[in-house]
C-alpha cells in the first residue's frame, strides 16, 4: 500500500509566535520550526499500517526550505522517503490554495491512503483533510481515533461530541487523525542516521503542475486585515479574607460563570 503522510512544520508552541509586519503572514523565522504535534500521530499511524499490511510510507510537506528538519524527523521515525513542495510562489497560501497545491502534488506522486493530523497548531483551520479529499475526489474520513484497513476497505472511529461514529469507505481515501489514536514513537539514533540517506524529492510548483495564479498570498480567499499582540496578562484579583473569604471567592467564580 502506498501511504502518503502530509506533515507541516509549525512554530514551536513553547516560543513566542509572531506575524510579519509587512504581509501579515506568519513569521517563520521568529520561532524554532518543529513538526506539528498531530502530524507525529499521523506518521505513527502510517508506520503502523505499513507494519501490518506492508507498503511504503512517503512524507509530503509544503513549506519553506527549512521545513526539511520536519521531513527528517518523520523519516527518522521510519518513513521511507519524502517529497518537499517548496516554492516562493506558495508563500501566504491559505487553506484552500494549500489543499489545491497538495492535491496536485498527490495526483503526481500517487497514493492509496493519505493520512494527516486533524489540525495544525499555527493556523488551526482544521479543514485541510476535507478540502484535500474533495479535490482528489476520494472519501474523507476525518477526526479518526482508530483506523482499520481490510483489503481495500478503510474503517475509522470518528470522534464526535457524543462518542464516535464508525465510518467506512474504500481506498483510495483521505484520513485525518486525532491525538487519541496512538502514542508516537521516538526516532532511534540509528533511525536518525538512516534518515540522512533516505531520498527527499524537491518539487517546485511547475513540477507539480500547480498554477501560479491559484496559490500564494495574492490569490488567497481570506485576508488578514489587521492584527494586534495579545494584551499582557492583567494582575489578578486579590481577595482578602476577613471572615467572608469563602463567600467572596464564590462570588468571583460566579461572576466568571464557573459556578
Amino acid at each position: 500500500m502506498n501511504i502518503v503522510v502530509c506533515v507541516k512544520q509549525v512554530p514551536d508552541t513553547a516560543t513566542e509566535r509572531k506575524l510579519r509586519s509587512d504581509d501579515k503572514t506568519l513569521d517563520r523565522d521568529a520561532a524554532d520550526g518543529v513538526i506539528n504535534e498531530l502530524c507525529e500521530y499521523a506518521v505513527e499511524e502510517a508506520l503502523k499500517i505499513k507494519e501490518a499490511h506492508g507498503g511504503e510510507v512517503t512524507v509530503l510537506t509544503m513549506g519553506p526550505s527549512k521545513a526539511t528538519d520536519t521531513i527528517r524527523k518523520a523519516l527518522a521515525m521510519g518513513a521511507d522517503k519524502a517529497v518537499h513542495l517548496v516554492d516562493d510562489a506558495l508563500h501566504g497560501s491559505d487553506a484552500l490554495s494549500t489543499s489545491y497545491a497538495l492535491a496536485q502534488t498527490l495526483k503526481k506522486i500517487g497514493f492509496d491512503l493519505v493520512i494527516l493530523g486533524s489540525e495544525s497548531t499555527d493556523a488551526r483551520t482544521g479543514v485541510l483533510a476535507a478540502m484535500l479529499a474533495e479535490r482528489l475526489g476520494t472519501p474523507q474520513l476525518t477526526l479518526a481515533r482508530k483506523v482499520d484497513i481490510d483489503g481495500s476497505a478503510v474503517t475509522i472511529e470518528r470522534v464526535t461530541d457524543y462518542g464516535y461514529d464508525k465510518v467506512e469507505a474504500s481506498l483510495p481515501a483521505v484520513v485525518s487523525v486525532v491525538e487519541k489514536i496512538n502514542e508516537p514513537r521516538y526516532p532511534s539514533f540509528k533511525g536518525i542516521m538512516a534518515a540522512k540517506k533516505k531520498p527527499v524529492e524537491t518539487l517546485g510548483i511547475a513540477d507539480a503542475e500547480i498554477a501560479a495564479d491559484q496559490v500564494g498570498l495574492a490569490s488567497a480567499w481570506s485576508e488578514v486585515v489587521e492584527f494586534a499582540a495579545a494584551p499582557p496578562r492583567a494582575a489578578g484579583t486579590v481577595v482578602k479574607d476577613e471572615g467572608d473569604g469563602g463567600a467572596k471567592a464564590a462570588e468571583f467564580l460566579a461572576s466568571k460563570k464557573f459556578i
Binding site: Y186, P187, S188, F189, K190, G191, I192, M193, K196
Partner: protein, 384 residues
C-alpha cells in the same frame, strides 16, 4: 539544562537532541516519584535501548553506534542530569559490555555483543565483594576449572542492577596467586545457582537496585571465559578506566542539574527587595559553582579525547573522576544552601541531588583510590 556543547559531528548534535528530548519527556517527569518509591525504571532502559543508547561506544557491526567517548560521555551527563539512576545505569551497563567488546574472541563478540549493546539486555558488573572493595585483587569468589568448564562459588557485593540484570560480567579467581589469578566471565542471568540478595537501602539512587549477587555452584561452559585465564584483573582495571569517565560525566550532570535549579531559584527569589542573585554572597557562590562544573566537564572531555585518540588516559580518568565527584558534592551542597529551607525539602530536587552526589565519591574506585592512582603515576614520572 542548556549547556552549549562543542561536538565533533552533526550526528552527535542529533544524538544529544534526541537524548534531551527523551530526558525532558520520559525521564525527568518521573524521577522524583520513582526515587521516593524505590521503583526501578526498567521501561526507561527499554526505551533508551530501543533508541539505540545502550551500546553507544561499541562498533556498529556488533550493534553499537561507534560513537567516540567524547560524545558517549556527554550523553551520560545529560541522562544523569535528568536522573542519576538512569545515567549511572547506562554507564554501568556500558562498562559491563566492555570486556567482551575489547577482550572477547571474534566468536564471542559476534554471538554476544549484538544482544548486549542492542538495547534489550541490561548488564551488571561483578567485581567488589563484601570484604574486597578498594583492594579488588583480594577477591575470593572462585571459578574452579574442570573438564567441562568452570564451577563458580562466592558472593559479589554492591552490584548495580543486581537481581534485575540480564547478564553479569564477573571477575572470579581461577588460581591462587593474587591479581594474576583472576579471570573474567560472561554470565547470563538465568543460570542455575545465581541469585541476588535484598536490595540495599541506600541514601540516594534508591530506584536503582544495588544488591549482593550470590554464585552457588554456578556451572559455566569454557566459552564463558572472556580473555585469557588470569587476565581478569587487567580487564577489570581497563574497564574501570572507562567506567571512571562515566562516573565523572554523571557527576557533572548531577551538579549541572543542581546548579540549574539553584540559579533559577536565585533569579526568582526576592529578599530585602532584590533577587538573590543581587547579593554578592550568593552570586559569588553561584559563580564558583558554574566555574567548577565547567572545569570538571573540560577535564573529563580531555581524558575522553585521549582515549578516543588511542593514548593512555587512565591517570586522566582518575583525575576527572576525583575532581568531578568532589566538585559535585560541593556544588550540590551549595545548591541546597542557596535554596535555604526549600533546599532541604523534597518539593525541590536539590536535596535529592545532594544525596545522589555522595555515592559518586565512592563508586568505581573511591576518591582516595583515585589519588593513589594519580600519586603512583607521579612517582613513576609518567605525569607532571
Amino acid at each position: 539544562m542548556s549547556v552549549d556543547r562543542v561536538l565533533p559531528t552533526p550526528e552527535a548534535h542529533d544524538l544529544l537532541d534526541l537524548v534531551r528530548e527523551l530526558a525532558a519527556k520520559e525521564i525527568v517527569p518521573r524521577a522524583a516519584a520513582d526515587e521516593a518509591a524505590s521503583r526501578f525504571p526498567r521501561d526507561v532502559f527499554s526505551l533508551l535501548g530501543a533508541s539505540g543508547l545502550l551500546g553507544l561506544p561499541y562498533p556498529e557491526e556488533y550493534g553499537g553506534a561507534a560513537q567516540p567517548y567524547e560524545v558517549y560521555l556527554q550523553v551520560i551527563e545529560e541522562l544523569a542530569a535528568a536522573w542519576l539512576a538512569v545515567g549511572l545505569g547506562v554507564s554501568v551497563h556500558t562498562l559491563s559490555c566492555f570486556p567482551v567488546a575489547a577482550y572477547g574472541s571474534d566468536a564471542q563478540r559476534a554471538e554476544l555483543l549484538p544482544a548486549m549493546t542492542g538495547g534489550e539486555l541490561l548488564g551488571a558488573y561483578c567485581l567488589s565483594e563484601p570484604h574486597s572493595g578498594s583492594d579488588a585483587a583480594a577477591l575470593t569468589t572462585r571459578a574452579v576449572p574442570g573438564a567441562d568448564g568452570y564451577v563458580v562459588d562466592g558472593v559479589k557485593a554492591w552490584i548495580t542492577h543486581g537481581g534485575v540484570a540480564d547478564f553479569y560480567t564477573l571477575m572470579a579467581r581461577t588460581s591462587g596467586d593474587g591479581a594474576r589469578g583472576i579471570s573474567c566471565f560472561h554470565v547470563p542471568a538465568g543460570v542455575d545457582g545465581l541469585s541476588s540478595g535484598t536490595p540495599e537501602r541506600k541514601m540516594g539512587m534508591r530506584s536503582s537496585p544495588t544488591a549482593q549477587v550470590r554464585f552457588d555452584g554456578v556451572r559455566l561452559s569454557p566459552d564463558a571465559l572472556v580473555g585469557s585465564p588470569g587476565e581478569g584483573f587487567r580487564i577489570a582495571m581497563a574497564a574501570l578506566d572507562g567506567g571512571r569517565l562515566g562516573i565523572a560525566a554523571c557527576a557533572v550532570g548531577v551538579a549541572q542539574a543542581a546548579f540549574d535549579a539553584a540559579s533559577a531559584y536565585a533569579r526568582e527569589r526576592r529578599q530585602f527587595g532584590s533577587p538573590l542573585t543581587e547579593f554578592q554572597g550568593l552570586a559569588f557562590m553561584l559563580a564558583d559553582m558554574a566555574t567548577s562544573i565547567a572545569a570538571a566537564r573540560a577535564l573529563y572531555l580531555e581524558a575522553a579525547r585521549l582515549r578516543d585518540a588511542g593514548r593512555p588516559y587512565g591517570t586522566q580518568a582518575a583525575m576527572a573522576k576525583l575532581f568531578a565527584t568532589d566538585m559535585c558534592m560541593r556544588v550540590t551542597t551549595d545548591a541546597v544552601q542557596v535554596l535555604g529551607g526549600y533546599g532541604y525539602v523534597e518539593d525541590f530536587p536539590v536535596e535529592r541531588h545532594m544525596r545522589e552526589a555522595k555515592v559518586l565519591q565512592i563508586v568505581e574506585g573511591t576518591n582516595q583510590i583515585q589519588r593513589l592512582v594519580i600519586g603512583r603515576a607521579i612517582a613513576k614520572g609518567s605525569i607532571g
